[in-house]
Symmetry: D2
Subunit: 281 residues, 4 copies
């Protein structure tokens, strides 16, 4: 049979299974978005339409791949967290990463005109790269998400408030670059917050940049009947869970995820199963 002569090449494919029982984070990043921001004249420092488009594309990814527990975006990157009990695609890294990246990209392109009605896309089109990382514990996962939040501020600890005020003065206040620079010279944080509020009624909220997409079904009620051990979960129950989650309302929130409050109000993130109180190790 002719096929057998060539089929040996299949043996060159190397397995890339992600370690079982670990949280899988797929992070995608906009490719060359600095150029893109310039090309489509994104507003500085954060263009609302651009962020809304990111969130809308992420929302579809979370809806179509119900193994995702939570998703979290900062500027032109988005992190999708797969539950540690997830067995999607036998946990093959390239299959998971490429599916997330492709689904996200498809919806980003498709929804572009909804958010940028007057700015048609032209080549080279926006695109994203991605990678998968495994985190063994919830604490590692939480630190990962804090890292993304902190990292997006670095290396400019006080820079962000400065930028927000600077661009507000220019875009909302009609100043030019030089005037805005002059006005801000020597100010401290309190001064800038004052300017933002008194001049533009803006309440500077650091957490405002971080977007969170998560399935909306989690409740204390669910916690009671959640199963203790993913491995022992019956097929039927798993099927039910999957359906339930795929129907879940996906909500988008703006939050500071470094604080305990975020985690305290989401006990299912610490559990072996969404909706369950934590019990491990």
């Amino acid at each position: 049979m002719a096929n057998s002569k060539f089929e040996y090449v299949k043996s060159f494919e190397q397995p890339d299974f992600l370690l079982p029982n670990t949280w899988v984070v797929v992070r995608i990043d906009g490719r060359g978005f600095t150029k893109l921001c310039a090309k489509y004249a994104f507003e500085k420092p954060n263009d609302k339409r651009a962020l809304d488009l990111m969130n809308a594309a992420a929302r579809v990814v979370v809806t179509e791949l119900p193994d995702i527990t939570i998703a979290y975006g900062v500027s032109d990157e988005y992190s999708f967290v797969f539950h540690k009990s997830c067995t999607l695609f036998e946990r093959r890294a390239s299959k998971i990463v490429s599916t997330v990246v492709s689904t996200f990209t498809a919806n980003y392109i498709h929804l572009w005109s909804t958010y940028f009605a007057d700015t048609p896309l032209s080549p080279p089109l926006p695109s994203f790269d991605g990678r998968a990382v495994c985190y063994p514990t919830v604490m590692n996962l939480r630190d990962y998400m804090s890292w993304r939040q902190v990292d997006s501020d670095q290396p400019r600890p006080h820079q962000h408030l400065y930028n927000t005020t600077f661009w507000a003065l220019i875009q909302l206040g009609g100043l030019d670059n030089r005037e805005a620079e002059k006005l801000l010279a020597g100010t401290v944080s309190g001064d800038k917050n004052e300017i933002l509020f008194s001049k533009f009624k803006l309440n500077y909220n650091r957490a405002g940049d971080y977007e969170l997409v998560e399935p909306g079904t989690h409740s204390a009620a669910e916690a009671a009947d959640a199963l203790a051990e993913p491995e022992q979960q019956s097929k039927t129950q798993a099927e039910k869970d999957k359906k339930k989650r795929s129907k879940a309302r996906v909500v988008i929130e703006h939050l500071d995820i470094i604080k305990d409050d975020f985690w305290d109000r989401r006990p299912w993130l610490l559990s072996n199963k969404p909706g369950k109180t934590p019990k491990e190790p």
Copy 2:
């Protein structure tokens, strides 16, 4: 410094460098395209608009990533071959795969309306997954490409000619399923070819399904000044090469790549460098 507290999570990222000096094939596959074909009423067995759209998207990928030596498509899959001397993204597998998948997807979605003017896209959108495989020798690479060609015919060795004729009778000849079946019962290959040509002026050409996208600059003239060893190539020369290839006209051809002829006419595929006569081992 706040950052250092979380930054340790970066150490969980596992390196995934592809072995140097091997041909890298990134193969992408349409996800759930059987459903998609039904949803958008693709013509059987091969919808010309769908294939043209695949080729158009692949053409952009080849143009934007000049490290690609050749690309090759069959139905809803496409294989992109990176030259063995390629150092794109330090040969990180997930970065290369996700970039190809994302660029392809973006253009597939963006160009959809060009090829399906009357059939607007609706969710769930078309998407693709992908993987990277390394092949140490040109012979392995050639066998890989032959495998894809043969595989797309399997498990139906003589089925393809049957299908082509069957659907021609229905779509072009106005027969219904039962009539077409009856007419073809007991026919041999010669009979079917005769039907195709006499009734529809169709010349059955097995190779017609396989699409090939390749940069068009290769010439005997280039062979002379090509460098012998990728490792020793100067930065300047590498820069020049890259520019030249990125400007190259990308051509799409329909070919049988299993035959020697295909390879004999592309000596650069056997060389260490596009445009060079082979010399290794």
Copy 3:
């Protein structure tokens, strides 16, 4: 410089870091030990000298590599558990595995004459292969160890007691194969236990085959001053810990590790750090 011309080959070495914050198990297996048992006339079913030699070699490995938390042997295999906070050799898999295998082998060969004084070694010499596996949680680790214990009994659930009694009758009781077979025909477990005890004062103890080597310093006292987070442990403290453990008395025990009792008495196995009460997730 001549070196630079060849040094590029170093780039072909692929990184093989084991995922951080996971328990690393290195399991080694005797190669071709069925032949070896025959060659050196090991007593059936378990030769005490052979097991003692395995334990003695394992003891040296645990002493020389203080990152090992516990070691566990069954017949011709041994599992060495590295603490999840271990950073030995930057957690490079091949370095860790090869070091364990080599140290074990060296001592097995060197100590052979101590346990087999009358049976000199001759080629081919005993050797071992090995592999490393990561387990994210203590529960996974515990299940791994239970698996090894259970696996070594399979596929012979009741076979082991039979074998023990059979060989006791022959080796200690002077019966020949046929007589032993006859005597055991139709007996149940209770009968065999009775034979073992009444005839040979042997107390059949299933757990007797499983050997455990562990550092002996763990105590409730230590629990108090143990540090909470491995990442935040100061260099000095880490240095002290290492010294303390390297001096620890290594004890060998025969145990059933599937039962809770084993784990309840070793709280440090559930902790982030030897000697600490568990706190995760």
Copy 4:
């Protein structure tokens, strides 16, 4: 069945297949040999007994693992080259590396007393670590071996001849450190060669440090009937080949492998199969 409850842990073992159709080099390194040299008072710069012991152990490895094409040693390291068609242990990296390391270690310990009759071993025993690297082409493999030869000379280009002469003066000539230093001050290579030969009848041969172990059956005669493609080789022929190689006389040579001469006289190293003239690209 009790087994099934724990068996899931097997799924945590990650596959580690080495890319097919590449040359596999397993390099082993003595662990802490600087200390070891001091402890057992190895002669400087190269102790003949130590090198002979390395070679003797390597010879056994090559004999017991006939998939090894050539082996090559420098001071306390040894590289074993597996043919690119090798399928030993399904090319699992950890299995191949650990087997080589363990077999080498076992024989090093066992043969110690043959080469160091008056110096019994004491803990900590000599041990070795190891790693596997894939090389796609013979040229990469050749460059690897050259790299090891060059690397062992670095960073002391002219140092080696100096050392050899220095220690010859002390050990054979009875000079003390200061006298030897004085005598060599200002000498050039020619002077030192002269001293070595005139005083001690030593012929300084740079290549003398590099040890090579290879199966001895290769001949022009064999080239004729060697098979062209490993993949198409019949089982029977493969069986025969294996037997023949396992019986092959293993020879140890001292050579400079950077020069073409070494490779020109070993055409089988360039072929797809030992004993065959090269054909690939």
